[in-house]
Subunit: 429 residues, 2 copies
């Protein structure tokens, strides 16, 4: 279903996001480089020309191209969702109701909920069931315009289970969108360690992480370093081991308290430090001067009923390269739509629609080390784009709570969920 | 496309919402009356049987029925969106960017934004353009499972303009969903009155409202009674005139301050009092004992970046009949998806998914005086329902920021947007 040569025509606004080298900071976060009345040529899954329709449609090369008429809509790079916990087995609806009833995170965990309950479900689930669940989510994301997704392990919390989850994610790469796996063994301490977090870190560092590296099952390693999670010395030991094994680093930091995790991420040259709702103001300039991307996750703040979002404006003013992601997970952010992350960035963190779009594409791609091939619509890049039912790109942050995407294209291929696929998905709901 | 007899089968959960007489209060707000593995028969647009598949599928009447297999999904009554400003001409993207830049409501109005800017657009727009805009929104709502929508005038602010908008809304009734028009002349004071709000109320009461009544262009009359809006004496005069003309009453109250509008609404027997973010705690028991529905609009709180939602739990505890709506409008709530209103009710106002669903269907229908024919799935009611890609109804409040609806049925007719319709819609974006 991928034509050799495709002419995309009829774009009222085509957001190329051409501009300064990523990661984009400050004014660079506004570089959408919009072409009005635009067209684009795709050959063998790659963009070969993009520009005003008047020029592109007269190229000799388009004469025998298949046409995709987007009829006056907005075209932009597919969203890059750089922080998800995609593979989780089943939704945590009981936790959800307990939280509504006023129970705290600790009470929910004591009642058998929380990460441990997902770990139970994931350990028990068959590989086929895990695959079906994650597959359904990938189609949901694709339907909302996401073309690349980072996906963390961390709901098995033992070697065999984590490896199994990473293998499932690996098998889903390109089905239908790109999946970049991250090893998040240090997500929580599993039951069998009875709270002995140092021993669990030892186990991860000495046994699990080398196995992940040997099998090349992840590009990144992530740790949850926060109050009531892994400590700073534990995170350092774990991340240094990961770095020695050649992994890129990502860090969950300052969601509930900044215990030094942000500074550690910068010191170790992490690709990304994520959450930052409680970042120590003194660390903002340090992060701003670094090459570590600040990945903001407003969905989890909303879902938990909080009001303290990450200080996006202060981060941008300090020069930080800001990215946005869904944090898609069953406990704190059951939100797969990057458009909603953009809307929350605009309405809750006062990012402009342009800044939010750069954060959700180019900068997210940079944080995953793939900005050379996706995140913008330029010749030589992958033809990863979304067509939105809008006449002005700002509608993406404005109209919220729904899905404006009408077509998603990955590597030049228009994604259309097989009817059976969505039915299977529903059966596991 | 409406078959004479339709068998809906394969519902894993069918939420009938059968229960105590509306409006539902207290424990009544939890009455979903779910049937597992359910089926339903529809004849000539009406429900004639609903129950367990084992019984329904053996009825003689289903033998020659057309089948709609929903394949294990959740079926529930179509959403009734009881508070929208559907017809607004064009989105207010400049206001949106000004708000992000930190401008206040007053500064935005001074810069040419706010309700006055919509009034300018709506007055200038052709009837065809207004119709195309509202038509597009109706399809968007229908795609998210809404089958009935209340729609207010209030963006023309002069007699001919308001009548024109109400006529457009009247012409859209059933295209594709039911539209119940409300006259909201007292939305803001138009420019030509130079702030003379008493004179504008005089004009509305003596000239415009009688014309609306004579032409039967609205069932309800609404007023914006708040700090920086119409005063309590103005609202009383306007609403009493409306009541004499036979209109049902709705009131925008306590969004920014409770200046007595809630008590006034109750005193005058309004069908609904809407917003209530700043309701005077002393008035909560008064509202709780009344027949006036408390319509909560969490979308506008989110969009404005606020954190003070209406006190849903206190209202429910006081016995109030709570409804939920989108408040869909271009200035403060560009959200057309009732599922998002449900999710915000759960995560921001601690309503349970069951309470939020009752509020978004039965109670909203009651507030519009149509609970006798829609809002539940029972024999004799209109076949107004939505099929959701979920295995458990609680997923509706849990997964947020996207659209779980896969089919919407109005009066027994499966709604499928004509391709041209959506293309026209986009042209006016």
């Amino acid at each position: 279903m991928m034509p050799k040569r495709l002419l995309v025509r009829g774009a009222r606004q085509l957001l190329t996001l051409r501009g300064s080298a990523p990661p984009r900071r400050g004014a660079g976060l506004k570089e959408l480089s919009i072409i009005e009345n635009a067209a684009m040529v795709v050959e063998d899954g790659q963009i070969t020309a993009v520009g005003p329709a008047s020029r592109i449609e007269n190229l000799a090369t388009v004469r025998h191209a298949e046409e995709l008429n987007v009829r006056g809509r907005v075209v932009m790079p597919g969203f890059v969702d750089s922080h998800t916990h995609l593979l989780y087995g089943a939704p945590r609806l009981e936790d959800f109701e307990m939280r509504i009833a006023g129970r705290s995170y600790e009470e929910i965990a004591a009642a058998g909920g929380g990460i441990a309950s997902s770990a139970k479900k994931v350990r028990r689930a068959s590989q086929a069931a895990l695959r079906a669940q994650a597959q359904r989510e990938l189609w949901r994301m694709a339907a909302c315009g996401t073309t690349t997704v980072e996906a963390k392990s961390g709901y098995a919390l033992d070697g065999p289970g984590e490896l199994r989850c990473l293998r499932v994610l690996d098998g889903l790469d390109g089905q239908p969108i790109e999946v970049l796996p991250t090893f998040l063994g240090a997500h929580a301490v599993p039951e069998e360690f009875h709270g002995r977090s140092d021993a669990y870190i030892d186990y991860l560092v000495s046994e699990v992480m080398p196995a992940v590296a040997a099998r090349k099952l992840a590009r990144f390693v992530d740790v949850y370093c926060d109050r009531n999670a892994f400590s700073l010395p534990q995170a350092r030991r774990y991340l240094e081991a990961a770095r020695r094994l050649g992994f890129g680093l990502r860090v969950h930091a300052a969601q509930f308290a900044d215990i030094g995790a942000v500074a550690l991420a910068v010191e170790l040259g992490a690709h990304s430090v994520d959450h930052l709702e409680r970042i120590d103001p003194a660390v903002i300039p340090v992060l701003g001067r670094s090459s570590t991307v600040a990945t903001l996750l407003p969905g989890s703040v909303l879902f938990l009923g909080g009001s303290q979002h990450a200080p996006a404006r202060a981060l941008i003013e300090a020069g930080a390269a800001v990215a946005l992601a869904t944090d898609y997970n069953p406990g704190t952010s059951p939100m797969w739509n990057m458009q909603m992350a953009v809307a929350l960035a605009c309405t809750q963190m006062r990012m402009t629609p342009a800044e939010a779009i750069v954060a959700a594409t180019v900068n997210a791609a940079y944080s995953l080390g793939i900005a050379d091939r996706t995140g913008t619509l330029e010749s030589g890049k992958q033809a990863d784009f979304v067509v939105l039912d809008a006449g002005d790109y700002r509608e993406i942050g404005y109209y919220f709570g729904a899905n404006l995407a009408v077509m998603t294209v990955k590597n030049g291929r228009l994604l259309e969920p097989p009817e059976e696929e969505s039915t299977d998905g529903k059966e596991t709901g």
